[in-house]
C-alpha cells in the first residue's frame, strides 16, 4: 500500500492492491473494536428442527469473521437471516446499528450466495450494470468501479462475454465483483471458495485481507479449516449452537491442539457429554 498515515488517521484514497476506494483508516485505528454486527439470541426453527439455536455474537469492524461448522450446522441460515433472506423465529440482530430486515441495512451490505447467482444470458458488463442499478450507483461511479473490479478479478478481457461462456472460476470472480460493486461496509460471503481452484483461493484470501485492512467487515462461512486459520476470529457452530468463538490461535492454545480441526472436535465432544 502506497498510502501512509498515522494510526487512527483517515484518508480518502484508492488502494492499489484491491482497488478499494474510500475512507482508509490506518492500523491501530479504534474502529477495530467498534461493534458492527450485534446478534442477540438469534434463533431459527423449521418446524421441529432448530437450525440456529440462540446464537449471541458480536462482530467488530474490519474483522474477517469465519463461521465454521459441518454441513447443516446453521452457518448459511445465520448468514441468510443477517442478510434479510430469512426471518428469525426469535432473537434479534443489528448491523451498523440498524436492525436487520430493513432496506437501509441492505444498502450497506454485500452478499455473495453459495450459488453463482448471476444472469447467464447476460454479459459480464450487463450483470455489473444491473447490480449497479439496484444499488443506485451513479453512472460515473459505476464506470470507475467496473474498471477497478474487473481489473482486480482479472476479467477485463471478458467484459462483453456472456456469463454462460465463462469458466467456473471466472463466474466465481464475477459473483464476488457483483457483491462488492457498491463498496459495502459489511460483506457476507457464503462459502465463497467452494469449488474454487487453490490458486484462485489464494487470490480471494489476499483480497479479503485487503478489504479487512480497509475497515470492511467480512463474514465468511467455510468448512475448510485451513481457511479458518486465516480469519481474525472464528465462531464454531454445531447443530445450530455457537460452541466457541475467538481468535483461531487462542482457541488452539486453550484446547491444547495443533489444529483448529482438533480443537473443533474436542469442543464438539465436550458439548455432547
Amino acid at each position: 500500500m502506497t498510502v501512509s498515515g498515522n494510526p487512527g488517521e483517515t484518508v480518502t484514497s484508492t488502494c492499489p492492491t484491491c482497488g478499494f476506494h474510500g475512507i482508509i483508516r490506518f492500523e491501530g485505528a479504534p474502529q477495530k473494536t467498534r461493534p458492527i454486527i450485534r446478534i442477540e439470541q438469534l434463533t431459527k426453527t423449521f418446524g421441529r428442527f432448530t437450525a440456529v439455536d440462540h446464537v449471541t455474537l458480536t462482530i467488530y469492524g474490519g474483522e474477517i469473521f469465519g463461521l465454521l461448522g459441518p454441513n447443516g450446522s446453521g452457518k448459511t441460515t445465520t448468514i441468510k437471516m443477517l442478510c434479510g433472506l430469512q426471518r428469525p423465529t426469535s432473537g434479534s440482530a443489528s448491523i451498523l446499528g440498524t436492525p436487520i430486515h430493513t432496506k437501509a441495512v441492505m444498502q450497506q451490505i454485500g452478499y455473495m450466495p453459495q450459488e453463482i447467482a448471476l444472469y447467464f444470458d447476460n454479459t459480464v458488463h450487463e450483470n455489473l450494470a444491473f447490480f449497479a442499478g439496484i444499488y443506485g450507483l451513479t453512472k460515473e461511479r459505476f464506470i470507475e468501479q467496473e474498471e477497478r473490479l474487473l481489473q482486480f478479478v482479472n476479467l477485463e478481457r471478458w467484459r462483453d462475454a456472456l456469463v454462460s461462456t465463462l469458466s467456473g472460476g471466472m463466474r466465481h470472480r464475477l459473483s464476488l465483483a457483483c457483491a462488492l460493486l457498491h463498496e459495502p461496509q459489511v460483506v457476507f460471503l457464503d462459502e465463497p471458495t467452494v469449488g474454487v481452484d487453490p490458486e484462485l483461493r489464494v487470490r480471494f484470501w489476499e483480497f479479503f485481507n485487503s478489504l479487512s485492512q480497509h475497515g470492511v467487515t467480512v463474514v465468511i462461512t467455510t468448512h475448510y479449516m485451513d481457511e479458518a486459520d486465516r480469519c481474525t476470529r472464528v465462531g464454531l457452530l454445531r447443530q445450530g449452537v455457537l460452541i466457541a468463538e475467538g481468535n483461531p490461535q487462542d482457541l488452539k492454545n486453550k484446547m491444547g491442539t495443533s489444529s483448529l480441526e482438533e480443537a473443533y472436535l474436542r469442543l464438539a465432544g465436550r458439548q455432547t457429554i
Binding site: K80, L85, A117, Y119, D121, N122, F130, I134, G136
Partner: protein
Amino acid sequence: MTVRRTLAFTKRSLLQFRHDRRTFAFIIVMPLLMILIFGYTFGGDVKGIKVALINQDEGIQPIAVPGNPFPQGLFLAQNITASLDTTTLSLQASTDPVSARKQVDDGTLWAAIIFPENFSENFLSGLSHPESVARPHIEVYLDGSNPTIAGTVLRTVSQAIQETMKTFASKLNLSQTNASLAVDPVYAYGGGNTRFIDYFAPGVISFAIMMVTTMITIILFVNERRTGTLQRLLASPAKEHEIVIGYSLAFATIGLLQSVVVLTAALLIFNVSIVGNIFLALLVVMLIALGHQGLGILLSAGARNELQAIQFVPLILFPSILLAGLFWPIESIPSYLQPLCYVIPLRYGIDAERSIMLRGWGLGQVWIDIVVLIAFAMLTIGGSVLLLKRKK
C-alpha cells in the same frame, strides 16, 4: 420505489432476450406462425364442395292472363340454380334424387339439393294465398358430419334464394316474398364479409401475448430461484414491487412488439380489416401482458425447475384455446361449461380486442373487459409482490 432500480430489471431482461436469439425468435415467430398457419388453413372460405343438383321443378308455362306477374312463365328453380355460387359448390346435375341421397350417405357427395316438381307453382300460389299449406320447399340432403361445410352449403343456397328474390322484387311485394320464401339476414358488423381471419386476428394477438408472457415469466422466475439471483436481489435494497414492475415493463414492451408484428402480418398478408382505435387495442395488449406476467410469477412458485415449469403449458394452453373464445364463440360451448369461460381472463382480452378491431368500439363499450383485465392484473401482480415478500 426508484425508477432507476425498476428500470434496471426491465433493461436487463430485454438485453437477455437480445442475447438469447432462440427465445427472441420464439417471441416473434410464434405469433407470426400462428397467424400464418391459421390464416391460410382457416382463412379462406371452403371451396369446391361436391353437391348434387336435382331440379324436378316443372315451372309454369307462359300464360297470358291479366294480372299474372310472370307473363313469360316462371322457372324458379332454374333461376335459383343459376344464382348458386359455383366456386363454393361444385355442382353435379342429376335427375335421380334416390341415388343422389345415396351418394351423400356414401360420403361421395356432401349434399344433394332437390327442387320438387311443383316448386314454382307452390311459390306462386303462396303469394296469393299466404296461408296455403303447400309451401315451396327445397330439400337439402346434407352430410352434417362437418358443421363448417354443412353451414356453408346452407348459406350458399339461401344466398342464391336471396339473389333470385331481389330480381323479383320489382314485380312482387317484398313483404310477400319474405313471408313465402327467403330469409333476409341483416348484418350489423362486417357486412357479412367478415372472414375467419378477421375474426381470428384479434384473438391470435391476445393468445400469443398470453402464452409468451406466462411461459417466459415462469421460466425466468424459476431460473431466478434456481441460480440464486433472486436471493441476491432480496438481500439488496431492491423492493419486491420494483422487481415485479421492472419485469412487467419488459413484458409490456415485448407485448407491443408482438402486436406490431402480428398486426403488420395480418394487414399485409391477409388484408385484415381493422376499424377501431389501434391505441386502445394496444392498451388491451399491455393489460393482458401485465396480468399474465403476474400469473407467471405466481405459478413459478409451484415449479422447482424448468421441467416442472413446462408442465404448466397444457394447463394454460388448453383452457385458453378451448374456452376463451379464440376459435368459436362461447355461446357454442355447452351451457354447463360456459361459466368456466367467464373465469378465464384471456376471454376478456380476446373479447375486447375483437370489439375494438372489428366493431370499432371505444372505451365506452369495452370498459367491462378492461376493468376485468385491470382487476386481474392487479390481483396477480399484487399477489406476486406478496409472494416474493413471503418467500423470506
